[in-house]
């Protein structure tokens, strides 16, 4: 199946003149559109190395640009701007400024793994997308995405108690992202449930608020995981050269 990727020529680089004569030749109008040349001097030569240092990005160097990932991509099908092949290309060349043009959508990868399934070079593009989104946040190019806020809230529950309670995950996420708890679609769902089996629903809601699900004897695992998480954070920051700035 052919894929239609976006043009690398942007509208602002296209120039047409209503009246222009060069060396006696009339080059006015649309038929002689000029493409403005550009030279790139601001390469970040460490970009590939930095992405590769974050979890998921390890295999980016293996890519040979076949485009199978973009062809298979779930998100690309609904937003052609979402283009894993192109981003891997930019990262490998060190074209950071170009990559930053798409910084606000890279986190939208839904982890369906179609790219990783299709990739003939074991790049694991899904991991590269996560590493890139992580890199953008660590470098301060983007705020924490809703996805990261969700992941962190969810993981905090797992690390704390060994298990999650999905009602609490939902409430915390809406709170952490400043969304009202009363979403119209959510109300419809809850009302539908209460109408059909009020007693069961209320009992379950009540129980889960009082007795949060947890794994017995989780304390030592919690301590071990928390210690490791701090180490990973420090390693990631060091790999991106962030500690020198003394941030956090």
């Amino acid at each position: 199946m052919p894929i239609h990727e976006k043009s690398l020529i942007r509208p602002e680089n296209l120039v047409t003149h209503d009246h222009l004569v060069i060396d006696g030749m009339d080059v006015s109008g649309h038929w002689s559109t000029f493409i403005e040349g550009r030279s790139i001097t601001d390469y970040n030569e460490n970009l590939q190395e930095e992405i590769a240092a974050l979890p998921g990005g390890e295999n980016i160097h293996r890519c040979w640009q076949c485009g199978s990932c973009t062809n298979a991509c779930t998100v690309n099908a609904i937003n052609p701007e979402f283009n894993p092949r192109y981003w891997i290309y930019l990262i490998r060349l060190g074209m950071e400024d170009e990559l930053l043009r798409d910084k606000d959508i890279i986190w939208q990868c839904v982890s369906c793994n179609k790219c990783t399934y299709a990739c003939p070079r074991d790049v694991a593009p899904e991991g590269v997308m996560k590493a890139t989104a992580h890199w953008l946040e660590l470098k301060g190019h983007t705020p924490k995405s809703p996805s990261t806020i969700f992941d962190e809230g969810f993981s905090a529950q797992v690390f704390q108690r060994g298990k999650i309670e999905d009602g609490l995950v939902l409430r915390n996420f809406l709170q952490d992202t400043g969304q009202p708890l009363r979403q119209p679609w959510l109300e419809t769902m809850v009302l539908g449930l209460i109408r059909r089996f009020p007693v069961f629903y209320l009992i379950r809601l009540g129980l889960s608020t009082v007795f949060r699900p947890k794994t017995r004897g989780w304390g030592r695992a919690r301590a071990a995981i928390n210690e490791y998480v701090h180490e990973v954070e420090a390693t990631n920051r060091k790999a991106l050269g962030l500690d020198a700035k003394g941030a956090e």
Binding site: V110, S147, S155, V158
Partner: protein, 308 residues
């Protein structure tokens, strides 16, 4: 690895089945009981890491999953059954990582020791999905013999989602020719429900993504993806979408409602766990397989088809 008959296996329900996927838990247990299969829940299990912890660090996810495998082994089982696609996927991935990636082995060993339990070593426990369990422990012939209330006349679109087949390398037993599951065109659920009398429609989006990972964090994308699945199932003539994953199931139900509220696109296809359909075919009441807990109310349809 076990080549056992899967009649008695360890059971790993996972967090979702104790919460939003309660109906899947209830129907899986009910079907198991009806078919004379034994499920022994893993003692003191923990979350497998779902689709979130790996984004903090994949090795923690490997550890979380390996801890459950370690307990399974301690309990004397060589097979664990996980009905949730996410759990199934993560246990499989832990198995793969621990046999292929030294760094994962090291972190798992370190965390296991600090947490005070045995370090899981790959090859000790086989992880299977509820589909493998029904298909291999019982099989289509036996299901056909036991059907009391055929699903005759119900048109089903079988929806497997992402985590059951992708990425291929963590499922070494798949794509092994006749009798094995296919990662490109999975068919275990089709086989089981066909044996229960359902008429499977030719559904091209069996392994499409519902956007489950971003169900809440990027709802508009998920709603578009789900709407595509729902409308395609309807265009294929399906009355019901059969699911085998609590995240997919909840995602389809939630975004079916959201698509109607936000995009004004109403769809009528009903969403049921395959274990609910199978249970009713085996003669269990809709209440027993917790049909009343589903958001998409299938009871009028079931009544019309003589199942309720």
């Amino acid at each position: 690895m076990a080549d056992g008959d899967y009649k008695k296996v360890a059971y790993y329900p996972g967090c979702a089945l104790e919460g939003s996927g309660h109906a899947y838990n209830a129907s899986t247990k009910a079907v198991g009981k009806e078919l004379g299969l034994d499920l022994v829940e893993i003692e003191n299990w923990n979350c497998c890491g779902a689709m979130e912890v790996k984004n903090i660090d994949p090795k923690i996810q490997t550890y979380l999953s390996a801890r459950n495998l370690s307990i399974t082994e301690e309990m004397g089982f060589d097979t664990v059954m996980a009905p949730c696609n996410g759990c199934y996927h993560n246990l499989k991935k832990a198995e793969y990582d621990l046999s292929h990636d030294d760094a994962s082995v090291e972190v798992n060993d370190r965390l296991s020791k600090k947490a005070g339990h045995k370090t899981y070593e790959p090859g000790k426990v086989e992880t299977i999905h509820a589909l493998d369990w029904i298909k291999k422990a019982v099989g289509e012939d036996e299901i056909r013999r036991r059907v009391k209330n055929s699903l005759n006349g119900i048109k089903v679109a079988n929806y497997y989602g992402c985590m059951y087949t992708r990425p291929r390398h963590i499922f070494p037993e798949k794509d092994k020719g006749p009798g094995s599951e296919s990662t490109a065109k999975p068919h275990f659920m089709d086989d089981i429900l066909a044996a229960a009398g359902a008429q499977n429609v030719d559904f091209p989006l069996k392994t499409a993504c519902c956007g489950g990972a971003h169900s809440l964090s990027d709802s508009d994308t998920s709603t578009k993806l789900v709407l595509n699945i729902l409308t395609t199932a309807e265009a294929c003539g399906a009355d019901v979408i059969a699911t085998e994953c609590p995240t997919c199931h909840t995602g389809l139900e939630m975004h079916q409602i959201r698509a109607e509220k936000v995009l004004g696109r109403k769809t009528n296809v009903k969403i049921l766990y395959f274990t609910q359909l199978l249970g009713m075919a085996l003669g269990l009441s809709p209440n027993r397989v917790a049909v009343q807990e589903n958001f998409s109310d299938a009871r009028p349809l079931l009544k019309e088809k003589g199942l309720a």
